[in-house]
Each structure stands twice: as C-alpha cells, then as structure tokens.
C-alpha cells in the first residue's frame, strides 16, 4: 500500500494521523479514497470543480505530480505521496 504523508494543518481532519496507508493505482485514486474516509479533507484539497486546489501541491516521491501525470500518476506499494499546502507563519 502506498504511504500518504498528511501535513500538520490537515491532521485535524485525519484524527491527527500523519501517515495513511492507501491501496490505489494512481494519485487520483488516493485522493479519492482519503477524501472518502475523511470527508473534511475534501474542501481543503479540491475546489468545487473537483480540481486540486492551487495552494496545495502533491508530490510523488520528490516529484511534483504536475510534472508527472497529475492525477493519473501511477503509484506502487513503495510510493510515498506527500501533500504540501501553503503555510504563511513567520513573525507573530
């Protein structure tokens, strides 16, 4: 099963779980499964049209899926899929 890394800001929607194990063939299937299991994740990952939000990036290994085949990027059991949203903290 592929491993999905959930970033800190989204862990409140996954019962504080930082890693999920998901059986899937593509990155798109992974997103579909985790948003089914954790419905609150959906509005943070997908826009109302169903596209990945532009302030969230998904990496397969160290590659941006926008440079691979986006949602169709294949995954295998050793794949590590990281969700990396924009965060802006610094001063206060």
């Amino acid at each position: 099963m592929a491993t999905v890394i959930i970033p800190t800001p989204l862990r409140k929607f996954t019962n504080q779980t930082s890693r999920l194990q998901v059986e899937a063939g593509t990155v798109g299937e992974i997103i579909e499964k985790i948003t089914q299991d954790y419905p609150e994740l959906k509005k943070h990952l997908m826009d109302p049209q169903g596209s990945l939000r532009s302030f969230v990036n998904i990496f397969a290994g160290d590659e941006d899926i926008r440079d691979l085949q986006e949602g169709k990027t294949p995954v295998n059991p050793s794949s590590i899929i990281s969700i990396v949203p924009a965060i802006a903290g610094g001063t206060h």
Partner: protein, 387 residues
Amino acid sequence: MAIRDIQFSKEELARYNRHIIIPEFGEEAQLKLKAAKVLIIGSGGLGSPALLYLTAAGVGTIGIVDFDVVDDSNLQRQVLFDIHEIGKPKVEAARRRLEALNPHVRFILHNTHIHSGNALDIIKDYDVVADGTDNFPTRYLVNDATLLLDKPNVYGSIFQFEGQVSVFNYVNSRGERGPNYRDLYPTPPPPGLVPSCAEGGVLGVLPGIIGSLQALEVIKVITGVGEPLTGRFYTFDALNFESRTFKIKRREDNPVNGKNPVIRELIDYEQFCGMRAVEEKPVKEIGAKELYEWQVKGKKFSLVDVREPSEFKIVEIGGELIPLATVMDHADQIPRDIDVVVYCKSGVRSLKAIRELEEKFGFENLFNLKGGILAYIDQVQPELTRY
C-alpha cells in the same frame, strides 16, 4: 562598496577567523559577506535567528522591516528580544541587541508595514531578501517585488510543528533562473481556511530552526559557497523529525515571469488573497470605546467571547465563553432580542462566527468588536494582560 575596496581590521580578522580558516570559505567569502546588503522582512520568529546569525557572520549591511512593537507573547520564540524591550518598536530593539553583538555591521531600519506602495523602494537597494513574514498577502507581495527587482528571495515559513524553506528567483552560475513562490502556489488559500500562527500556534524552537536555515541560505547565496536551495523545496516536521526535499520547477503560466506575464507592477495583495471580497455582506462593527460607553451607560446587551479557554484564562472582559468551533452548537444560547457584541483576540474569529450565525441562523443583532479584546485592552483597560 566594491569588494576590492574592502579591508578587514585586525579585530575583524580575529572575529571571523573560524570562517576564514574553512578552505571552501576563506577570506574571499568573508569579504563578499561584508560587501553584501541583506534585507530581513519580519524580525519575529524567523527574523530573530536569521538576524542574529547574519549579524554574527559579518554581513556588511542589514536592513530590517517590521512595524510591530515587542509584546510579552513574542518572547516564547523571538529570541532577539528580552523583557526590557516590551512595548518598544521591534526594529529598534533588534538594532540594540545586534549592535552589541557585532559593531562592524551597519543596520538600516524600516519601521513600517511593507505594502505595494513602498515595497519596491525598500527592497531595491538590497542584494538578497529573506522573507519571514506571517501572512499570505505579504508573501505574494515580497515574491512579486523580488521578481520585478530581480533579487533572490530566501523563503521560510512555519505552522505549529512544520516548517518550509526554499530559495526563490535565484540565478545560478550558468544564468539559469530558479522557480518562485507563484510557481509553487499560484494562488493563496481563501482567508480562514488555513489558520495563522496567532490562531494555530507554533512551537517556539521551530522558527529557530527554520530562521537559521534561512540565514544559512542567505550566506550561500551571497558567497556562492555550496549549492543554494534553488529549485528545491524543503519541509521539516518537528513532531516526527522528518524532513523532505522536493523538486520544484518554473511554470509557463506564472503571471509575473512566465511565458506571458500579466503582472508588471505590484497589485493589491489583500484583494488578491480575498481579504476584501466584495461579494461579502459587511458585518456590523463596534469600536472598543463605543462598547465601553454601552457598559458605562448600562445599556442592555450581551457579550460573547469566541476565543479558546486557554486565552480566556489569560484575560477576559466579561463575555460568555463560546469558542468558535462550538458556536454553531450553542447558537440557542445567544439572545436575539438585545444587541450582542462578539469578540475574539483581534476580530478575525469573531467575524467568522458572526457570518456563520447570520447565514445559518438568521441573526441580525450581532456586532463584531473591532480589533478584538486587544483593542479593548489598548483603548479601555490598559492594565489588563496583553498576549
């Protein structure tokens, strides 16, 4: 000053000896540091360690941008400041500490809020920018300004236990320009979706780590020693002690420096980040002084505090505590027959609560306390504890 015109005094040679004896660094890299002008935007959590290390390392000129004053609640992570500086402008407190650390550095203070009207002017004279600000509009502003002025931008950002670092808009020795923030994140999240550190919190050591990494990258960018973190995006999860480095690339659709640029000057970043969404109905507001008048005159109204219990323990002004996350479940406790003032720390969460209550339950009697409990403390009861 050109590098050939710079000479080190004996004191400086002694001070920088541990740099100079590193074979890959040497006096040449140290001279480049002295010739360099670095701008640190934000002197808080990230800016504190970055400023301390860059000053210690001997960067010749350091500019500091911050409009804020030192507050009690800063000292948990902003190691540049101490209890004697509370209430004083951060840039001045920073200079006092940094001049005591290294008298060979020149400091330029920008005690101002950076915005579209002044950003280019502030940034233009520096060689490198390090962005340690705390909100999306300023992140995009600094990004675009550094693109328009052709400066590298050493980016660091934190949230709770997680940090991010990258070097944006860096041109390597082969003349290849690296990606920037807009290539990574074309647009920011809508307001309220991602909490700020003021709302979400941050572990004090984390900005120490991430701000130090920014200082490291600034030094690499200036000296050309090593491989700057360009085209790569580093993330650190302090909770699991896991770090990852992702590859990032330039995008043709980047509106500032892509194939068909449409942004050729700085824009309204508050609007870009949805802070001034026009379609949103305005919420009724009340100022702290007006609220005080209501209290003094004995007007019949109700006060609701939507902060967290931990904040309530620090300071409260008599409101009924209903934390934002539970407001919808307790809507029946909020009266409809008299005016109700809703407040939080600074007015953002209470605005959200009012919008939700109006939308879902049709409330028409809610007022947002402008500037939150902090404004009330400042304007009405300065003896209360700020945080």
